[in-house]
Amino acid sequence: MRPAQESIDISRDLVSLLPRLRRFALTLTRDGLQADDLVQAVCERATGRQPVWNGHGRLEDALYILARTLQDEANGRKRVAADPRVGSASAGGATSGDAVQQMMIAMPEGLASAFLLVAVEQRNYRDAGHILGLAPDVVAHKLATARLRLAAMASDTTERRA
């Protein structure tokens, strides 16, 4: 039986989740420094007086939702089900020579997050949509678009090496 909500110490779990949380934050911010700031904000909130996790479900999901919510707030708008075929990459934070960051930054907002949650972390569309605040079919569209963009990047990379 889990301890009372207010007595759950998630500090150690937080530390072990940091690499994954940072990766998810990077898909949201598409900027390395902003991702670290977002992770810090998430951890501060998560260890603050208002619990973000009640001991049920995955702590990771609660942190991801918090990260996404904070990022939405930072963007000054509510996330809406944007058409994944439009949108532009953030200009800030790109670092030269970092193909992975460039890959994520190059994708329109929301694509990398959907791809990470489903194709990498093996969540289903419903859970991914819950984290991202999106309907499952929107997740599906973002995911398909992300895969095709990534395939194009893979082809480009192969051609450059050839």
Binding site: D36, Q40, T95, G97, D98, A119, Y125, L143, S155
Partner: protein, 275 residues
């Protein structure tokens, strides 16, 4: 998959890949793939993108997490992670060069760390880039050994602390590095004893300490061809372990401890001063 509007063929095939289609949809797509070469090509494109992206995202996990961020989370200190992403200032000159080194370190983190996203390098690894498999360093071996032995409370060391003279003679002869066992009682660390490890194929001394909570700290050193006498310390993190390493002419050193340790850099400084 529930649709609020007609899904594109790309989305349908993508959902098919993820097992997010019902039985009817799966049958339809199977039939489509059987008769339509373009659909098959599209499915392969989706698979290709998935594999490429998964590899790239996996590499992101190898990027080191700022130590100070981990400490702040676990201990609620007021450390600003933006100011402590990398410790790179030479130990003996750190007061004068602190600000510059810090700024440079943050910059280097962005450049070097981001490279690590792709090739899985760690921040304290100066070996030439290897596109596929990164060569293990002695720090990798030391870290692995620490994980194993720190969980052996009854068999933590080979020679216990009271045999300190034997430890000095044995490890000096084995490693070729003369040393002093540091007194870390001021840091509330109690010497437990020592082990001999093999790291990167070389005999490596491991001096083990425990704090009041039973957390294990290790000082490891081995003979090294380095002539580096800068005292530059490199801080890294491997999951829940923090590492601070440095070189002296003829020897390489590293301190390993829990990542949440406050003042870990001060501890490493104190150790380096007496080693």
């Amino acid at each position: 998959m529930q649709h609020t509007k007609s899904p594109t063929i790309e989305a349908r095939l993508s959902a098919y890949l993820d097992g997010e289609v019902d039985e009817n949809e799966r049958r339809e797509i199977d039939q489509l793939l059987a008769r339509d070469a373009e659909a098959r090509r599209l499915l392969e494109r989706l698979k290709q993108g998935s594999a490429f992206g998964a590899t790239g995202f996996e590499a992101v996990l190898h990027d080191p997490v700022p130590l100070s961020l981990a400490r702040r989370i676990r201990q609620g200190t007021d450390i600003n992670p933006k100011q402590e992403r990398v410790v790179g200032a030479p130990r003996r000159q750190r007061r004068k060069l602190w600000r510059g080194a810090l700024a440079a370190s943050c910059g280097m983190l962005l450049i070097g760390g981001s490279t690590g996203y792709l090739i899985g390098r760690t921040i304290d690894d100066n070996t030439p880039s290897a596109p596929v498999v990164k060569a293990r360093t002695w720090l990798d071996d030391v870290t692995d050994a620490h994980r194993v032995y720190a969980r052996q409370p009854r068999h933590l060391v080979e020679i216990t602390a009271e045999n300190d003279e034997e430890i000095r003679n044995w490890l000096t002869a084995s490693t070729g590095v003369a040393f002093t066992i540091p007194d870390l009682t001021a840091s509330k660390l109690t010497f437990q004893g020592a082990r001999l490890l093999v790291a990167a194929g070389k005999p490596t001394a491991q001096l083990l300490f425990k704090d009041e909570d039973g957390e294990v700290y290790a000082i490891c050193f081995q003979r090294s061809p380095t002539t580096d006498d800068s005292g530059r310390m490199t801080e890294g993190m491997r999951d829940d372990l923090a590492l601070i390493s440095w070189n002296e002419p003829g020897a390489a050193y590293v301190v390993v401890g829990p990542s949440a340790t406050a003042n870990f850099k001060d501890l490493a400084d104190a150790i380096a001063d007496v080693m």
